[in-house]
């Protein structure tokens, strides 16, 4: 238990200065983007209108009560039709339990995470905003068949290719 000033201090300084020569692990976000996990639970839900039967299992499974679903009977073809399907993304905690619960594969976790809004009311998404479309990537959470098609996740343990121009 003796102190020698110097030895430990110098060792530490060597580590920090070596770090200077190493490649920083930064992903410069707006320009460079990480491939997210194939199972990503992004900040949105994607809803497939054609598959949904309006059974409201998701709404029941959601312990948050964030999903609001109203169905009405369509008298023409004698089927239930979803009138409103609304999720408050500011209230949803992306636990994925609704996706797990959906018996008809009609609900997916979305892969997008850039959902910041200026106003509270804009965070409530209705069925048009949630609808399944091409520009809205769907994550493979609980849907392994979809996960396979998604790009492989970028990992920090692998070397990330970085654009060093903007340092």
């Amino acid at each position: 238990m003796k102190l020698h000033f110097g030895n430990g201090l110098l060792k530490g300084m060597l580590v920090t200065i070596k770090q200077n020569l190493r490649h920083p692990t930064v992903t410069q976000y707006p320009e460079q983007r990480l491939n997210t996990s194939r199972r990503i639970r992004g900040q949105e839900l994607v809803w497939n209108k054609t598959r949904c039967t309006g059974c409201a299992t998701c709404a029941k499974a959601c312990h948050q009560g964030a999903i609001q679903i109203v169905t009405a009977t369509n008298t023409e073809n004698n089927k239930y039709e979803v009138e409103t399907y609304r999720v408050d993304t500011g209230y949803c905690i992306q636990c994925g339990i609704c996706v797990e619960a959906c018996p008809y594969d009609a609900l997916f976790m979305g892969a997008r995470y850039e959902k910041a809004k200026y106003r509270r009311a804009e965070l409530v998404e209705n069925k048009e905003q949630m609808a399944d479309s091409l520009d809205r990537p769907v994550s493979g959470y609980f849907h392994p068949e979809r996960a396979e098609k998604l790009p492989v996740q970028t990992l920090l343990v692998e070397k990330i290719n970085e654009d060093r121009s903007k340092e």
């Binding site: 030895n7 194939r38 996740q153 990992l155 920090l156």
Partner: protein, 367 residues
């Protein structure tokens, strides 16, 4: 002499850079020396126990994620263990291995944060903290790959885990296991011998062994005081009896011992993961459990060796879909029991260091 210092009350927290959240110490100071403290809790009391009484057994798992948000996997696991004990559910072999891997990864994750924050509290300008966060990011990647979220995993289920490991998980984990020891060595070079760090942390905030046991302190804090008590050895839940590892203990019980025990535990966790990765069998990951669980009437206390100490869940079931009583044994809260004895007589700077060495998460302290 008639001239003496006036004691005054200083609020350290709730919004203070090194109270690890929103803890508040109401300290009575004599100059810089702490004469008396009163810990004030509850700035993050969100009523988890009340909420849990209104939710299904599966619906509680996201809640446990948010309790100790640094160690979500361990929380999930502890809760799931308690429910399995209550409902007497068997877990498939592969799931057991996945659970061990996850729990130990989470332990490394937590100790990285704990050690980094502790050195930060000693006054290092973020450097070790950021280095450790860099490695934590690698773990985050792996967790995200498995569960889809970076922090709140919601991965364990009663009777197994929610999804199988993706194909690219094990190679990535092996790679991580290969490079992590070098990083730990780097931290040790960076800070372990640093004289200032030693002077700041050695012989500071000594927690005697008897006091630690009497206060119910568990985990690395107790082990640093020389209490050789690890539930993974003492009460091996899951399949922990199949792995070979040591329990690092400290000798003095000072802040430095707590730090070194954490670093040593990381190495042991790496050992466990290595063994688990080698032996992991193929097979199903979740047993046949009804979607809405109705455990029989009764009570169960399931606990595990969480990264911060003994994390337990005490559940009382009345046969319904929601637990009748849901109680958490929070290691963070109970580890603070001896805080007053540890802090009095030290200066503010030491108080911050000692507090940092205990490693708490407010989400779990207050729930």
């Amino acid at each position: 002499m008639a001239l003496h210092t006036e004691p005054f009350i200083l609020n350290i927290g709730p919004v203070h850079p090194s109270t690890h959240g929103v803890f508040r110490i109401r300290a009575t100071l004599d100059g810089e020396v702490i004469v008396d403290i009163e810990p004030v809790f509850g700035y993050l009391h969100r009523g988890v126990e009340k909420l849990a009484e209104q939710r299904t057994y599966t619906g509680i798992i996201p809640l446990t994620d948010r309790m100790d948000y640094i160690t979500s996997m361990s929380n999930n696991l502890a809760y799931v263990l308690a429910v399995e004990k209550l409902a007497k559910v068997k877990v498939p072999e592969r799931a057991e291995y996945i659970r061990v891997i996850m729990a130990e990864m989470q332990r490394i994750c937590n100790h990285l944060v704990a050690a980094g924050a502790f050195i930060n509290d000693c006054g290092a300008f973020f450097t070790p903290f950021l280095y450790m966060f860099r490695e934590r990011e690698k773990l985050m990647d792996l967790f995200e790959m498995v569960s889809g979220q970076r922090l709140t995993y919601n991965y364990m289920r009663v009777g197994g885990v929610s999804q199988d490991l993706p194909a690219e998980f094990l190679p990535a984990l092996r790679k991580f296991l290969k490079e992590m020891p070098a990083h730990i060595a780097e931290y040790e070079r960076l800070i372990n011998d640093n004289e200032i760090f030693l002077a700041r942390s050695r012989m500071i905030g000594i927690l005697p062994k008897e006091l630690a046991i009497n206060c119910g302190i568990s985990g690395p804090v107790a082990r640093a005081s020389g209490v050789k008590w690890d539930l993974r050895k003492a009460d091996p839940y899951g399949i922990y009896d199949r792995f070979e590892f040591d329990i690092p203990t400290g000798t003095v019980g000072d802040a430095n011992d707590r730090y070194t025990v954490r670093i040593a535990e990381m190495k042991q966790s790496l050992r466990i993961i290595e063994q688990a990765v080698e032996k992991i069998p193929a097979g199903p990951v979740i047993s046949d459990v009804p979607k809405v669980l109705h455990p029989p009437v009764g009570e169960a206390y399931g606990h595990l060796e969480g990264p911060k100490g003994e994390l337990g869940f005490y559940l009382v079931s009345d046969g319904g879909i929601a637990p009748y009583r849901f109680h958490v044994r929070p290691p963070s809260l109970i580890n603070l029991t001896a805080l007053r004895q540890m802090l009095i007589g030290w200066k503010i700077q030491d108080a911050i260091t000692i507090f940092g060495s205990i490693d708490i998460t407010m989400g779990e302290v207050d729930r």
